[in-house]
Symmetry: C2
Subunit: 427 residues, 2 copies
């Protein structure tokens, strides 16, 4: 027996037809003359009407077992659904052994750790799998938006031969008797590539050996990176604003989220521009609100939480002090203490970090030295800047954090199938 | 000055308009009264007409320097192009320092190693960047095809806590005082996920610590993985055949490849089914062709080269002996010496490996033992099979190899921006 339909493909147009559906048994209710069976697949539930005289064995099948069945589509008497299936044949059954480690129907709640240990079963809860359907739709919208803006998708290496961007928090390993590292970002590669490819983007996993256990950090995370020749940080902010608005529209259209509980997606006014605060604005505002912070300081978690209270939805913080930013960020032309940089924030959470890039290799060398890095370790990168390197700008967006904030979840582990943190490397 | 147009956006509709274009200087020809300048961006070349009295400095700019200029679009007198640009203003110039390590115009050929050392510059050759535009288009087509077949895109971890699939050739590293490994494939994760998500796909980098230096092996490679509940290996072959035909159609439509030199893409008849040979067929055919091979043997490189001569285009080899396949492959129901497996070949090159999966956990345990693996190391994986695991099938496609064969290149390094092999980890 072969599946002919998914649950969502069953509708009034095929009443009277025989179909084969497959999925798992979510519920069995025996009310004597009839047994109601709920079979679910990734697209939704199907109500199945079973004649207990014809199929007495159905009561013996444990819930969550997978099954393939055949039957006729008929109009449903229930108000909750338009059609149901009258069981006519049971195909192969694949038994679930009870007790199960968690209850995927959600009637019994389990702690996140227990759910992650049984992630495959956890995903049989519609509220959980919807998060990952939303994630896949967001990926699709991101790629479409960037292609429409003439960005080309690229794949840069995750194995790198030298500790770029400073070398802190890199996973190191033996590579045929040499040292190699796992990439923390595609920063240097994407900058090199715009020499010829103009506009590039990459969506890929990166790695950070940081021993911190918070709701927003993982050791393996997905990043959306873009880089573009002849654009500046203002252009990049515009692109990212359009991108996020496209994702929100797309997610709203899926109908997969219960928006009542998600103020962000429900309330954001897509016609309004995201707020743009300079770093200077932020310091003044924080001082007015009795925060201990001085001009030139980095914004602490506490300061960002205060700003998050004062500013609803997404907001940019622009023109950070240059010394707080990586060596590849361009100084501001009016005030070289500042930089042509931005972060996109939602509440206290940093979602995007970007800026115009330094394209003068001598200035990059000085900044490397200032940050205690050896320019000689960057020689393979710096030579590209002698080949006619145009001005460029770009940014990196933390995909997991974005999905976390858009879906209203409070822990990044909720939106990553198999999250990795210092304590968790399996399953 | 801001770029207003890319090269390909210049056409007869905007004759008389003033535009700003940006790119690099590919050529300068001074014929006295006029200087012809060719500026190229990723979308193509632009011919620029320069008045040497007005812009005498243009001859001083080294080739490959990046530049932004302004001018009026006019009808071209040349037969090779419809419009050209009359230079009116030169914006900022970003100088290329000569001598350059390679000549990206292709007038002087360089060895592949030298080109890879200067990859960013190498990509200014249109024939090179076209390979990566084709790669990005192939990625887009793959995702669209799979979404249309109801596959959901997922992201599984690249850091794994136990040496799945045998443990040979894994990169190992210290993960907060524990051992961790880089994933060789998403095999176990994608199988787990179909318990709830029905059909999943992932396109991601994987890692193999294999000390071999051939034209078809890399230590970091991109794989397209799919897995589906309630489908078998025949279904998966059908999906992959449709997928590859869609990619070929898409690549043909780009016009980016010189098809005269690429028999594969030019000659493949999309209306014909890919040939399907059983392993048995192959052994008989090889014996007839005086190859030393016995029933039950793996097919050597030499055998595959012979088969590649005998079979044009793509061909499947199905129903391999079970012992030659990994522990997760299902035995054949008619002949348990064989398996419900397939490879897709092009010439001697294996592009896809797939099959129906074993879904009985006791049989997986026996096969693990047969292959010298300890089932206890797979306990986190095997428990999923007690939760109502449906029958399933899937495959992995080597993306780099596919792009290599479709573009008619002879070394997989040609189609990977920054390839990784035992000798190469930078740039």
């Amino acid at each position: 027996m072969k599946r002919t339909h998914f649950a969502k493909q069953l509708n009034e147009d095929i009443i009277g037809q025989n179909v084969n559906v497959a999925g798992w048994i979510e519920d069995i209710r025996d009310i004597g003359k009839i047994i109601f069976l709920v079979i679910r697949d990734i697209t939704g539930p199907i109500q199945v009407i079973v004649n207990p005289k014809k199929f007495p064995q159905i009561n013996e099948i444990p819930r969550q077992s997978s099954i393939i069945i055949s039957g006729e589509i008929q109009k449903s008497k229930s108000k909750e659904m338009k059609v149901e299936l009258r069981l006519e044949e049971i195909g192969e059954t694949f038994y679930a052994k009870h007790p199960l480690p968690i209850d995927p129907t959600g009637r019994l709640e389990s702690a996140l750790d227990k759910r992650l240990d049984a992630r495959a079963l956890d995903l049989r809860n519609e509220n959980v799998s919807n998060l990952f359907i939303i994630r896949s739709i967001a990926l699709e919208i991101i790629r479409k938006t960037l292609r429409d803006e003439l960005f080309i998708e690229v794949n840069t290496p995750k194995i790198i031969g030298s500790a770029s961007e400073g070398g802190a928090n890199l996973f190191e390993f033996d590579y045929f008797k040499r040292k190699a590292y796992l990439a923390q970002s595609p920063q240097l590669y994407k900058e090199q590539l715009i020499l010829a490819m103009d506009r590039v983007f990459e969506i890929a996993p990166y790695f950070r050996a940081e021993n911190s256990n918070t709701v927003r950090h993982l050791t393996e995370f997905y990043s959306v990176d873009i880089e573009a020749a002849f654009l500046d940080y203002h252009d990049i902010m515009e692109i990212m604003e359009r991108l996020i608005k496209n994702i929100i529209t797309g997610i709203k259209n899926t109908g997969l989220l219960d928006l009542k509980e998600n103020d962000l997606v429900q309330n954001i006014l897509l016609e309004n521009k995201f707020e743009r605060l300079t770093y200077n604005n932020c310091i003044e505002e924080l001082k007015k609100n009795d925060q201990k912070v001085e001009y030139g300081d980095d914004l602490s978690d506490l300061s960002l939480r205060k700003l998050g209270q004062l500013h609803q939805g997404f907001y940019f913080i622009t023109e950070w002090p240059l010394k707080l930013k990586p060596f590849y960020i361009l100084e501001n032309e009016r005030d070289p203490f500042l930089s042509n940089s931005f972060d996109l924030q939602i509440g206290y959470l940093e979602l995007i970090s970007g800026g115009s890039r330094q394209h003068d290799p001598d200035k990059i060398r000085s900044r490397l030295k200032e940050q205690g890095l050896n320019p000689n370790n960057f020689s393979q990168h710096l030579r590209v800047f002698d080949w006619g390197m145009p001005p460029h700008a770009g940014c990196g967006l933390g995909l997991d954090r974005l999905i976390m904030s858009l879906t209203g979840t409070l822990n990044v582990r909720e939106v990553v199938l198999y999250p990795r943190d210092p304590d968790r490397i399996s399953p």
